[in-house]
């Protein structure tokens, strides 16, 4: 069986290094080796590579590639078949932009889940104690549940399931879950609904051995998910994505990627 690998694309920027502490912990949890791929459009100086090698965690390897960054990263991913790609959302300062062009291209074409790390968290140490899964009640978003649950289990982390309700209609997707329209007595209804929501999720993915907590909010889904992630001190968010990027698709995902302060793992639904 081939060695489990996590691919960490870097460029020569300081911001890109924000992915390293996250990748290091995920590597430990997944028992996967880190494969650092340094990509630039010109060949880097030896001194620069030596400096990078001194920065990366022990046991990881550094591979320097030259070419168009996204194409090189995807080529490397095709060769290495990594379990995850962990990279920074953007390495150049572009205020208000969701993702840099490299991260966008990688996300859209990656053969595996991508963990996107906001550059603002710098190189400070990272721990995985709270994993947050936003769940709009649809079977599609349930695709994020299994990877999130498996990660939480391996990390002995808490799994937070966030459901945002609002004035919009219930999802049309068959089998979707919603909040109850009638709450006869909140002291009974909410605990019962919470138990049932989690039980229904357990039909998709075993959760019995995990510490699972439901959190409910109402309002704009992206804003509420970002707020909940901050309030609950989530270390990682796991989001399911249908794979369509062009407007008006993926609005919630784009808003979350722009505003969230924690790393986000995006998995294909």
């Amino acid at each position: 069986m081939s060695e489990a690998v996590i691919l960490v694309p870097l460029d020569s920027s300081e911001q890109a290094l924000a992915a390293l502490p996250v990748a290091k912990v995920l590597g430990e949890i997944e028992r996967a080796a880190l494969r650092i791929v340094h990509v630039s459009e010109r060949r880097p100086a030896s001194a620069e590579l030596l400096k990078l090698e001194a920065t990366v965690p022990d046991g990881s390897t550094v591979d320097a590639r030259t070419g168009e960054p996204a194409a090189e990263i995807l080529l490397a991913a095709g060769e290495m078949k990594p379990r995850l790609i962990v990279m920074c959302t953007h390495t150049a300062a572009k205020p208000g932009k969701t993702l840099g062009s490299t991260a966008t291209n990688v996300l859209r074409n990656a053969p595996c889940p991508v963990v996107l790390v906001p550059p603002g968290r710098d190189s400070i140490a990272w721990h995985l104690q709270h994993v947050l899964v936003p769940h709009d009640g649809t079977p599609t978003t349930s695709a994020a549940l299994r990877p999130a649950a498996e990660l939480a289990e391996r990390a002995s982390a808490e799994l937070l399931v966030a459901h945002v309700t609002g004035i919009r209609a219930a999802p049309a997707e068959p089998g979707s879950l919603t909040t109850p329209r009638y709450v006869d007595q909140p002291q009974h209804e909410w605990p019962a609904w919470t138990r049932e929501f989690v039980k229904r999720l357990e039909c998709i993915c075993p959760l019995g051995h995990l510490h699972v907590r439901m959190v409910l909010a109402h309002g704009n889904p992206a804003a509420e998910i970002v707020r909940l992630a901050k309030k609950q001190a989530a270390d990682l968010m796991v989001l399911a994505w249908r794979g369509k990027w062009e407007a008006p698709r993926a609005l919630t995902l784009k808003d979350i990627l722009r505003e969230a302060q924690c790393p986000i793992m995006v998995v294909r639904a």
Partner: protein, 579 residues
Amino acid sequence: MLRLASLADRHLLVQCATITPENYSGSVSIDAALTGTVTQVTGSGTTVAMAVARRVVDSAGHCMSSTEVVVGQLSLEVRLGETYRLDRVVAVHTSRDTDEPREMAGRQVKHAIEDVNGVIAEHREAWLTRWKASDLRIEGDAAAQRALRFAIYHLSSASNPEDERVSIGARGLSGTAYKGHVFWDTDIFLLPFFILTYPEAARALVMYRYYTLAGARAKAARLGYRGALYAWESADTGEEMTPPFVVSPDGGIVRILTGEQEQHISADVAFGVWKYWEATGDEGFLVNAGAEILIETARFWASRAELEEDGRYHIRGVIGPDEYHEKVDDNAYTNGLAQWNLEVGEEVARLVAERWPEQWRALSRRLGLEAEEPRRWLQVARELYTGFDEQTGLFEQFRGYFGLEDIDLAPFAQRTAPMDVLLGRERIQRAKIIKQPDVVMLVHLLWERLPPEVRKANFEYYEPRCGHGSSLSPAIHALVAARLGDAALAERYFREAAEIDLSDNMGNAAGGVHVGALGGLWQATVFGFAGLRFTDEGPEHRPNLPPSWRSLSMRFQWRGRWHELALPESGAERRITGG
């Protein structure tokens, strides 16, 4: 597979499964997870004993395995193509019924496993009797028919005429949500079904309120009042079971005030008791139990209402059926029902004193009731503030309600969460949006006391402001809309009510059926669409059927006689049968 909880003998549970080997002869192992006889002591000290027995019968009807109470796995030699039936019987007895629950359960299960077919036949017979009494037939609307039979099935399953110390919890016997606690749902939403189709079960439900009077008296005394204030959430003793707070799903701690402030429950209990008496004329119940409930609840209201400087009595700091607004003064529903309760308390005191003087002397001595006390109740009732405005014909739901913010509910029409979640607790308290019928509920219950224009004006004012945050809400709106002659609106609300349990789209099906909403659905049909009502002369009907309903037929019992009602009006008939 057949699985039943016997309606004929509520101590018995039966499972039958058949097996036919299609490509195999040999050994089969059946893990029936048997436990023999087990006992468990509940938190309240009741011992529950369960005894289990099983047997396997071959296609010729011969028993292949022991019928003894057994534990563990069962191995059988089976032959290709032959059918085998596994019967399993469970008997449940508690220390509430017998001093020897374990022995009783063991003896009964041994007997029952020998005659499983007999147990099944008796169960079937019991259900036939129930359906004969309670069925409601609709032609022209299969969905409505299905919803009503679903309601009747769950209502009938949840009742037990043989046990007066239990009632029906908010989710019936179909789920564990609400912990089996008993609310006003039973007295106001369920009881009419039982009174008219299963009076024996209705009697057990009102007797439950008699057996829990001690808890109601203790609650009133604890809060500084006289008489009986029933628990908002009641269990076996009648003590208040409402938790003081809940952790909401957003992590906030929410104070729960219904246990202290939702005091209309006492008038609701009295209302149910009086309706039972009116419909059955059950003198034994009235003299030995009902009168005491009516007197003690009237006494509570007389001590609860306070005479103020304006010369009127007021009831301050309560929650009405609309639970979005807490600690309100002079809630129209509470005051309206309290007024009714005070008057009926006086009436029953007079009635018992005149017709059963000896029992009356004993009762009034036991309750320490002075001769003039019932007359004072009438005075409090007369001077009780009701919030009624002669000019508009409207009841103000509570003091200050008309000054609250009016919020248009139309933009929220597609919502999947209740309005208090969307707007937040503080905002909803400052708005006119209500959780469920409050004044409209008063109109429904005291229909005959209010002039037609007042019923209409209040429905038209409050209906658009109702957020329907309670499952009890749509059915009552259907009922009142139908009685007011708006069949289209009534039908729309009827369908909303019917969907609550039959459409698994609320994320709360596992907790159990909304049994109060099911009772409301039945009432919407019988009192709304069929327009059944009762006067001193007896039952009448003023139907207003939905256009698609070709016919509605049902039976009901009134003062010991069965009546048959067949609508529509053109072919309407009401036959009295039996005695």
